[in-house]
């Protein structure tokens, strides 16, 4: 049994109903600030009556306001519903009145936005589809939910006292014995020991003497009728009080002696705290068959990167071994990159409302998710925190596109066509695909999945493969050939190379056929979704930059000239191009672009270095004219919604 879905309405920023899907084991909530990750965690806490949350209760701010701000009072009521799937036979019995028609357990919480006379908001919690079913509190209490906030005060939480984490843990471990002893009116062994010690202590000379003196004084002062008796000893403690006064001490590896947690570092205290909770889950795993959910806000808080990864891996292992469900929110690309992609739930803020997508619902093909798992590293997981993504072929684009975009957007902003002047400002990430096929990425964003038919009996493998390939490459899929899936609801543009044969040198006005094997995909997404677009150049990025305009070519030639190590025919040719541009002579521009490309790809230069040199120039000399190829402008227009 695990929490598989949560529906939230009118809670915090969710003025529109949202649905979040979870999986067994690990779930990672990833997204920009204010996209609703904490609200989802808090919704789960409210629903499950998690200890800390129920102490705080629902407050005025928990009711959503509508977006235009006219509604000062907040929504009339908020509702949170959770679905638990995969119930065992035993759980179906325990959660009998929570069952829905598909034998999942359903838990509902509704809170009216009106204070009762105890100054609390009226809450109603019920199981299943009918609010009038019998609702026993035990099954709810059997769902263990532990929450670790982002600003953890581990020391405070591990401190001694009423309801300390540690005391609860020990109490749970000894629950059966305690119940048995209490039933028979017997003492717990620990109580026995303490009692014996107490008696012994009271008999020690100095204590006994002090006690006698006090008793004598009372006798003298109040007489035997009114006089009380005293006894000096440690407080007689019940088992519950004894374990509440226990505390955790720490010692560093390689040292002796234990020290108070107050002397420990924040990070390690956090680790101890999390370990205590995991030990609690682990120690009780045979006792409970009921769901156990661990909610962690910003796992990365207070931990250095290696420790983050280590802890994450351990949590992942625990989810399997102890059947716990862990839901973690994070802003750390490092953590996002360390888990399989289908464990990620992506949060995005789109046009003022929240869009939540569980990546395993995106209909990713197996090969695609395997690939993405390998490929996503800490730098690339940035795409999960962005408001738009521009996928590019290589290092050249990755360096130059942000700068070109800045030039383009500044101009557009001056014209009043948009309000942003750079991609960063818009939260749009430029992601380097390193020559990897882009259709893998777009599966997260396109919202459809091609339904591949099974091979029918008698069909040759060759025919079948042909049929499948034709289907995959259809420009527009018909009903029945695809299904709608979830998608991350942000825009993605791809800049890709046309890659015609090497000898083909297209001019600015030529349309030539390219060899890029994925060009069909661009057409398909244009027809099937509004979220993704593919923009193709004439040949390759650098070729297109230079053919765009003679000024561009001149700047690029100058960079090459400065860097060329040898004198000779090549240098002469480059110099002659520069001279002819200056004299405004007619030039075979495709030929020139091809030469520039050839030099950029040569050993002494390379695309990366060239891009860096050009980027420096463009940044330093903002007034210098440099035209941006159309396919790039179109991609930026699409992402920044210019002209819509």
């Amino acid at each position: 049994m695990y929490l598989s879905k949560v529906f939230i309405e009118n809670f915090r920023l969710f003025s529109q109903p949202v649905e979040v899907s979870f999986q067994k084991g690990l779930n990672l909530l990833v997204g920009e600030n204010g996209s609703g990750k904490s609200a989802v965690l808090d919704a789960i806490r409210a629903l499950l009556n998690e200890n800390e949350f129920s102490r705080r209760g629902i407050t005025e701010e928990d009711f959503s306001n509508n977006n235009n701000g006219t509604d000062l009072h907040g929504a009339d009521r908020l509702s949170i519903t959770g679905i638990f799937s995969d119930l065992s036979e035993e759980q179906k019995i325990e959660y009998l009145t929570w069952l829905d028609n598909s034998f999942n357990a359903k838990l509902n919480l509704e809170v009216q936005n009106r204070l009762n006379n105890r100054n609390r908001y009226n809450q109603k919690r019920w199981g299943g589809n009918s609010s009038n079913s019998i609702f026993d509190s035990e099954p709810l209490n059997d769902i263990q939910c532990v929450y670790l906030p982002a600003l953890r005060d581990a020391e405070r939480n591990l401190r001694t006292g009423r309801g300390s984490r540690l005391a609860r843990f020990i109490a749970n471990l000894s629950a059966d014995l305690l119940k048995e002893k209490r039933k028979n009116g017997e003492l717990m062994p620990l109580e026995d020991d303490l009692k014996a010690f107490n008696e012994k202590a009271a008999g020690k000379e100095e204590i006994a003497k002090a006690n006698k003196l006090i008793n004598d004084s009372i006798q003298n002062a109040a007489g035997s009728v009114y006089g009380q008796k005293t006894q000096i000893q440690f407080n007689t403690l019940s088992y519950e009080r004894i374990i509440e006064s226990l505390q955790i001490l720490f010692s560093e590896a390689g040292t002796d002696g234990f020290r108070n947690l107050a002397e420990n570092s924040l990070g390690y205290n956090n680790l101890i705290y999390i370990a205590t909770i995991l030990a609690e889950f682990e120690g009780l795993k045979d006792k409970y068959t009921t769901p156990r959910i661990l909610l962690i806000e910003e796992l990365e808080a207070h931990l250095h990167p290696q420790l983050q990864i280590k802890l994450l891996k351990y949590l992942q292992q625990q989810t399997d071994e102890c059947r716990i469900q862990v839901i973690i929110s994070t802003h750390s690309p490092l953590i996002a990159a360390s888990v399989p992609i289908d464990k990620i739930i992506s949060f995005n803020r789109v046009d003022g409302s929240c869009s939540i997508t569980s990546l395993f619902d995106c209909g990713m093909e197996c090969s695609a998710s395997r690939f993405l798992n390998r490929w996503l590293d800490a730098t690339k997981t940035a795409l999960l925190f962005s408001k738009g993504n521009l996928f590019v072929e290589g290092i050249g684009e990755a360096i130059l596109i942000p700068i070109l975009a800045k030039r383009y957007l500044s101009k557009k902003k001056a014209e009043g066509a948009c309000s942003i002047s750079s991609l960063e400002e818009a939260g749009i990430s430029v992601i380097n695909m390193n020559g990897i096929y882009f259709h893998y990425f777009l599966q997260l964003y396109n919202g459809y999945k091609i339904l591949l038919p099974e091979r029918v009996a008698g069909e040759t493998k060759e025919n079948y493969t042909k049929k499948i390939t034709e289907l995959r490459k259809k420009t527009r899929l018909s009903n029945g050939e695809y299904e709608v899936t979830s998608r991350i609801n942000i825009r993605c543009a791809v800049l890709t190379d046309n890659d015609p044969a090497k000898k083909i040198k297209p001019s600015l006005d030529d349309d030539v056929e390219g060899n890029n094997p994925q060009l069909w995909f661009g057409k398909q997404v244009s027809a099937m979704t509004d979220n993704c677009r593919v923009y193709v150049n004439k040949k390759t990025f650098e070729y297109d930059l230079s053919i765009e305009n003679k000024c561009n070519a001149q700047i690029m030639l100058n960079i090459l000239l400065e860097a060329i190590p040898t004198d000779g025919s090549i240098k002469e040719q480059l110099e002659s191009y520069i001279t002819r541009i200056a004299k405004e002579e007619t030039i075979d521009e495709p030929e020139m672009a091809a030469s520039i490309l050839e030099q950029i790809e040569s050993d002494y230069m390379g695309k990366g270095l060239f891009a860096q040199l050009l980027a420096e120039k463009l940044s330093k000399q903002e007034e210098m004219k440099f035209d941006i190829p159309q396919y790039i402008c179109k991609a930026i227009n699409f992402l920044a919604k210019i002209g819509e």
């Binding site: 019995i93 009145t97 028609n101 009216q112 299943g128 589809n129 009918s130 009038n132 079913s133 035990e138």
Partner: protein, 649 residues
């Protein structure tokens, strides 16, 4: 097994000490208060049941006064304290809230923690609605089909007549009196396989409905369609819920199986009150492994008017092979009362009256003449005084509310659905200080408020004071309190000695003075034809209004009671149907077949501990015959004539 094993579980002592006062068991406080050891106090037969196998199906045939409630409580406590299953429990089901409270109190005295999860003690209806109908009924009725909607059941009583029910009226008319009926007024009878009209009003309703319906298919379809529409909106009568729950469980074995596992043992108290659908539900659960213990006395079945037939229970006991156990020691009544009770149901069984006879003549018949009811009560009162019996624990028992009204000197309430009369009825009942009176008048007022201020609203039933759905509970209570306060502070409205026309104006003025943002103007509708010049008070009370300290109870109301003495009063004349109100119906001697009338008398008779008195009419026009006198004497009654003279002396 023995008392000792019971002691280990319930008292946590290894062996029972000779004297309870030196016992140190868990129940010692209770035993000290009671003055005896509660375990040794159990008889062999009671012990047999407590220690019976919960893996067997059992019918515990318990005669009146046999201590069955106590036995159930001990059984429950004994089993639950040994109980190991964490999520499966025992359900103890009763039929009334008062029976539930009684069992709860007893259980609390035997179990230190009272009633705990995973067990259930409550009425059959609350259990059925809470664990089966509310969670799953939408599977068969498809109400709230969109998964997000709340599929809670909205229960409508069969006598409800509100505007929202107009949306669920039949297309055809079912007689001059009934006309178009709404879906709450009839239900499917699974035994006779036809629709039946269920409200008690009008009296001829059932017959009229039957004769109109006969075999007309278009009418059956009409009734079915109307019912479906009603259900799809989430409305149900209590009968509907039972029938549909049965269908649900029959068609969805998976659900039945889970419920059977959730409740592996179901103990039903007063099992003679089980309806056929309820029995069928129990059968289905038994097939999936639930063990059923029925506890009760088939001779005390008195709900024929609710289509409850003891033959169904008998068939259930037989077909499910319940093992019969007996409790035949009556600790309540003395042997004379026991004998008279058994004789009335032609009982062949042997019941031992365990109570010592404390009065010389425990069986009396008072013969009364027309309009001597007051003297009858007076005489009974003085005899109780004579014998030193406290009136508090005595009741005057009558067949039904009409009889009660007669004795109280009220006019028979004709359960009118007139709003103005409801308001007046509320005022009339304000000087009734009993709990019953309070509850009744609040319900009547709530209905009047709902009907006059929220006539179009979908509303709840009497259990939630007819609360309109759009209003939340606390607001609704405030509205009722506000209007109640306004009315009881208004001298003009409190004065019921005016005629209806003037009183209505006073009420109108009074209600217009109520100011609340939730309330519009009350729509009081019209007075009933021809009463505007009658005095309001006369619609409710007769001139010789009786005041008696002895409480009056209907037979159904006194079910399960244990009373020091009972005066059971017959109606003055037989009337047109054999409802069991008239004494001659009680004593019909027919070997073969016991009528409900006899069982009603049996229930009334067997309430009494020390003294049972009957109030029997002896009209001058048709005096009681010698034969009849002899018959009464055969039962053991001493006959007292001329009660008027006696009561004065």
């Amino acid at each position: 097994m023995s008392v000792d094993s019971l002691g280990t579980v319930l008292c946590r002592v290894d062996s029972m000490p000779e004297q309870y006062c030196v016992c140190n068991g868990k129940l010692k406080n209770k035993c000290m208060a009671d003055g005896y050891c509660n375990l040794l106090h159990l008889t062999k037969k009671q012990l047999d049941y407590v220690e019976s196998d919960i893996n067997k199906n059992i019918y515990l045939n318990a005669c009146p006064g046999s201590g069955k409630t106590e036995v159930i409580a001990v059984k429950y406590s004994y089993e639950t304290q040994k109980w190991m299953q964490p999520y499966s429990g025992i359900a103890v089901l009763t039929f009334t809230n008062s029976a539930e409270n009684e069992i709860r109190n007893r259980i609390n005295s035997f179990s230190p923690n009272g009633i705990e999860y995973p067990h259930f003690v409550g009425t059959f209806t609350s259990w059925l609605h809470g664990y089966i109908a509310n969670p799953f009924l939408s599977i068969v009725t498809l109400h709230g089909e969109n998964g997000k909607d709340d599929t809670r059941l909205r229960i409508v009583e069969d006598d409800a007549k509100s505007d929202f029910l107009n949306a669920y009226k039949t297309k055809y008319s079912y007689g001059e009196k009934l006309n178009h009926i709404s879906a709450n007024q009839y239900c499917w009878d699974i035994k006779e396989r036809k629709f039946v009209y269920t409200p008690q009003i009008p009296r001829s309703g059932k017959e009229e409905f039957d004769s109109y319906l006969s075999d007309k298919n278009y009418m059956k379809n009409d009734l079915r369609d109307t019912k479906n529409k009603f259900w799809e909106s989430g409305f149900f009568t209590y009968e509907d819920v039972e029938i549909l729950s049965y269908l649900l469980l029959k068609r969805n074995v998976e659900i039945t199986r889970i419920i059977a596992k959730r409740y592996p043992l179901i103990i039903v108290d007063e099992c003679q009150d089980l309806s056929l659908p309820q029995l069928k539900i129990l059968s289905l659960l038994r097939e999936q492994g639930t063990k059923v213990h029925l506890v009760g006395d088939l001779d005390q079945a008195i709900y024929e008017f609710r289509k409850i037939d003891i033959e169904d229970t008998k068939a259930f006991i037989k077909s499910n092979e319940l093992i019969e156990m007996n409790l035949n020691e009556n600790f309540r009544s003395n042997q004379s009362i026991v004998n008279a009770s058994i004789k009335i149901v032609q009982g062949k069984k042997h019941i031992v009256g365990m109570r010592n006879q404390m009065t010389e003549k425990p069986l009396l018949v008072f013969l009364y003449r027309k309009n001597e009811e007051k003297d009858l009560v007076q005489l009974y009162h003085s005899i109780l005084e004579q014998k030193g019996i406290e009136e508090n624990n005595c009741r005057i028992i009558v067949r039904n509310n009409a009889g009660k009204d007669k004795l109280l000197g009220r006019k028979a309430g004709d359960l009118s659905d007139n709003i103005i009369e409801d308001y007046a009825h509320f005022v009339f009942l304000t000087d009734d200080e009993s709990l019953d009176g309070f509850q009744e008048r609040i319900k009547i007022l709530a209905r009047a408020i709902q009907q006059s201020y929220f006539p179009k609203s979908v509303h709840g039933n009497s259990n939630n004071l007819y609360k309109p759905e759009e209003i939340d509970t606390s607001t609704w209570i405030n509205i009722i309190i506000l209007i109640q306060k306004t009315i009881v502070e208004n001298e003009c409205v409190l004065d019921l000695s005016q005629n209806w026309e003037i009183w209505k104006k006073a009420l109108r003025k009074c209600l217009d003075g109520v100011s609340s943002s939730y309330l519009g103007k009350a729509d009081l509708k019209r007075l009933k034809n021809g009463i505007k010049n009658d005095l309001v008070v006369e619609s409710f009370s007769l001139k010789n209004k009786n005041k008696t300290k002895i409480q009056i109870e209907t037979i159904h109301g006194c079910k399960g009671m244990s009373l020091d003495s009972v005066l059971f009063v017959s109606s003055y004349s037989r009337g047109d149907n054999r409802s069991g109100a008239y004494w001659k119906d009680w004593f019909i001697n027919q070997e073969s077949n016991i009528d409900e009338a006899q069982r009603l008398a049996y229930v009334a008779f067997s309430r009494a501990k020390h003294l049972l008195a009957l109030g029997i009419p002896n009209p001058v026009s048709a005096p009681i015959t010698e034969m009849e006198r002899k018959m009464l004497m055969d039962y053991g009654f001493e006959i007292i004539d001329e009660i008027k003279a006696q009561s004065i002396s």
